[in-house]
Amino acid sequence: MSEQFQELNVADFFYKNKDLVGFDSPHKATYMIVRELVENSLDACDGHKILPDVRVTLSKVEGAGTEERYHIKIVDNGIGVPLEAVPFAFGKVLFGSKYSMRQNRGTFGLGGKMSLLYGQITANSRITITTSQGGGKIYTFEISTDIRTNTPVIHRREEADNKSHFRGVKIEFDFEGDYGKARDKIIEYFYETAMVLPYAQLTFIDPNGSLLFYPRITQKMPNPPLETLPHPHGVDLEMLKRMIMVNPHTSLQVFLSKNFQRVGERTARAFLRSNGFDPHVEVSELNTKQLTKLVTALREYPDFLPPDPSCLSPIGDELLKEGIRRLLSPEHIVVTTRPPRAYEGNPFIVEVGIAYGGAIAPPDKPGKVQLYRFANKIPLLYDEYSDVAMSVIQSINWNQYKIKLDEVPLAFITHVCSTKVPYKTAGKEYVAARPEVEKELELAIKQAARELRVRLSKMEKAEYKERRTEVLRKYLSMMASFSTFLAEKNKEPNIDALFKEGIIKKHRKAELVEDSSSGDLVDETKSEDDKAEGGESESEE
């Protein structure tokens, strides 16, 4: 398998299978283009501890063919792209050659490149890229991709003084789309992104000239994820072959200890011995059969330590709360972060928030759940009821928390971050029910629900106390009046003294017996039909 063939195949593959990655209709493509570009920009910022400022302008290109044509411009303040990398970063569809693990929104930026490709295919548009890493120069490229050969074609290249000290990337191109139908999803996308990124500033100007603006509300941001080597439990044959291609002439033992996390020389030796591999064999000499055996052994060997979670970047309790508070304005927020766990060598962390009351409305129909799902800080907007988070919420017995799911104003926020989020589809719309992830979601939601119950109980107690005082006061003032009349006094006793702090006792247990006058003794009111009137009835008609 030659590398050339591989690359050509990738560009061609995406071109022919655009529906698989979510570009299956003009309006879906519009949404995907905005989303993929925003996500690349955000990765270029918060992945490098830069507070993101991302601006998107979408405008209509008039009189250009039968389909609606749009011009998109996105500007970020990320780290920018080095001059020499620009043509390949934007003009060639490729897999990265470096195998490392780190939480990212996109996997290898494929979605972003698909967006550019889509513009080129539908609108015959070249891509204009302006970038600087903050140095003295600013570069502008006009490029396209030769789809057959999967190579970048540079049409124009300019260099200028970076007078405004710009750092980041600006991308512009045209595409055919349908904003009218995509509008709601795009707005929802920005809204939900702002929920988990209170430290980002997001600006969107739509083709109608409407401005959507989410200012930055905090300077705090989570630590960016660190790059780590892959964990041996997550390896597959394809990946192993590629890694060998990069390091063909090392011994198996050295190869393992250099290319995988949690594998030192000693661990590698122990692993190879227990699985009957020769530690000194050169990796390029292993045949496919041996490699398959190696993959199985790596995945199943029980003595590797769990994956290193430093490659993850959860949102964190505080930022999650701030984001939720800003956009949902609830009365109560509880958030839970679970400790890192792993599935198949991929570390993941589950974060959950439950927001209650305030501006949140109760469900408008039974069975409806207000759920905001995120994976690696990306909002998931489609197929909500197929998502594992939804099935977990629906499977929990909410009576246990005295919460009537169909009546109470609740919103759930779930975030799964991982080096490899277990999406069910290529379109990244919902998270699959992996048992490990499902269990963590369940634990997180239950933990949050318990905390919410405690909060609600406190609130209910306060309300109860207030209501109780109101009821007591009402009836006691009646008693004051009645007893004054019965006792033939002139002045009513003052009941205010009863309601001074500290006098109201707790609910008393002094009831000697429950009062009820129903009896199981001979009932005097029963009577034969013709004597019905003769019953010793004490009720009067």
Partner: protein, 363 residues
């Protein structure tokens, strides 16, 4: 002979005491409470000495600082207030009437059941029937005979009335309930289960023939009727005889007059322990050979209930219940008409009643 004073005097005092107790508790910034005898079945006992059901020693505390109690307690006091007003203005009311009256104050009786309960609680708390504070059942039952009474009702005060004045008898109502029983020439009381026979007996001058005061109980005697019977017995010293159909229901009408009812266990002084069931006994069936009917399923069920009741443990009553069980028959008082020689000479009056009065040693 013991004269009973105007019982509204007692009632007014009891209501004032209750009000004062609540007032004083409120006045010292204490959440008021009362202790009401429990009317629950596990607190109802048969008292062989009083020969009636009574409440045991269990008490229910109703405290105003208990959110569950504060409303019933206020309701109880509201009933007390109405009771005092009824006495003060010499008005009468009924349970139903009271329920409707509650609608113009935010006292929240949801059903009449609830306001009835408040009345029963007040009865139990004061150990007084509600008639004492002028809450009456609809008139049921009538009285006829040479009895002179003095009413205490406004507008009729001090007027003496003889109860032979009305040929249909006089309703046993609120006025009679609290009237002073002044004098009588009668030497016994005959209570009759059926209104038609009561009227028939007046026409046949049974009151004169047997020197008796006649009372129509109209089935189970109302509490007013039972109270009146008790007073005739207690205040005027008249023995009481009860005439009913020959069935388990008739037996129990007698029993309630004699030993009281479970429902009224919280009130003493309504029963007449010395009263006697004059007839028609099941043991009389074979003696008089009148038409009978077979006991129905309901009769058998009732018989089983009565056999388990402590009030029927006495030898006489056991024998009567056993007779029902043995014969499986029942008969009505009207069955004696099958033996009448003419409409003016009824077997019931000419033969049966004198036979039975003799048997019980009344004449």
């Amino acid at each position: 002979m013991e004269k009973r004073p105007d019982r509204s005097v007692y009632a007014r005092k009891a209501l004032k005491d209750l009000g004062t107790s609540i007032y004083n508790q409120l006045d010292v910034a204490k959440f008021p409470e009362v202790m009401i005898p429990s009317r629950q079945t596990n607190n109802i006992y048969y008292d062989p000495k009083l020969e009636q059901y009574v409440l045991g020693s269990k008490r229910v505390v109703r405290s105003a600082d208990n959110i569950k109690h504060v409303k019933p307690l206020a309701q109880l006091l509201w009933v007390a207030r109405i009771g005092k007003e009824l006495i003060d203005y010499d008005r009468v009311s009924t349970l139903r009437d009271l329920f409707y009256m509650s609608k113009n104050i935010d006292i929240n009786f949801v059903t009449q059941q609830e306001s009835d309960e408040a009345v029963y609680d007040l009865e139990a708390l004061l150990s007084m029937p509600r008639e004492s504070f002028n809450i009456f059942p609809h008139d049921r039952g009538a009285i006829f005979g040479d009895l002179t009474v003095r009413y205490r009702v406004k507008g009729f005060k001090d007027s003496l009335i003889n109860l032979t004045d009305n040929p249909d008898g006089v309703n046993i109502g609120p006025a009679l309930d609290n009237a002073e029983l002044v004098k009588t020439t009668a030497d016994k009381v005959i209570a009759i289960e059926k209104g038609a026979i009561f009227i028939q007996m007046i026409r046949e001058k049974v009151h004169e023939k047997f020197n008796a005061i006649l009372i129509d109980t109209t089935g189970q005697a109302s509490r007013s009727a039972r109270l009146l019977i008790r007073r005739l017995n207690e205040e005027l010293g008249l023995p009481v005889y009860i005439l009913t159909d020959c069935d388990v229901w008739g037996a129990h009408i007698s029993m309630v007059i004699i030993s009281g009812s479970v429902n009224s266990a919280h009130i003493t002084g309504l029963n007449t322990p010395s009263a006697k069931w004059l007839g028609f006994w099941p043991t009389d069936i074979n003696r008089y050979k009148v038409p009978t009917m077979k006991m129905k399923e309901l009769d058998w069920k009732r018989l089983a209930e009565l056999k388990a009741d402590p009030r029927y443990k006495e030898k006489f009553w056991k024998e009567q219940l056993d007779a029902f069980e043995r014969l499986g028959l029942k008969a009505e008082l009207e069955a004696f008409s099958s033996k009448n020689k003419s409409v003016s000479q009824t077997f019931l009056v000419e033969t049966y009643i004198p036979d039975k009065l003799k048997e019980l040693g009344a004449i």
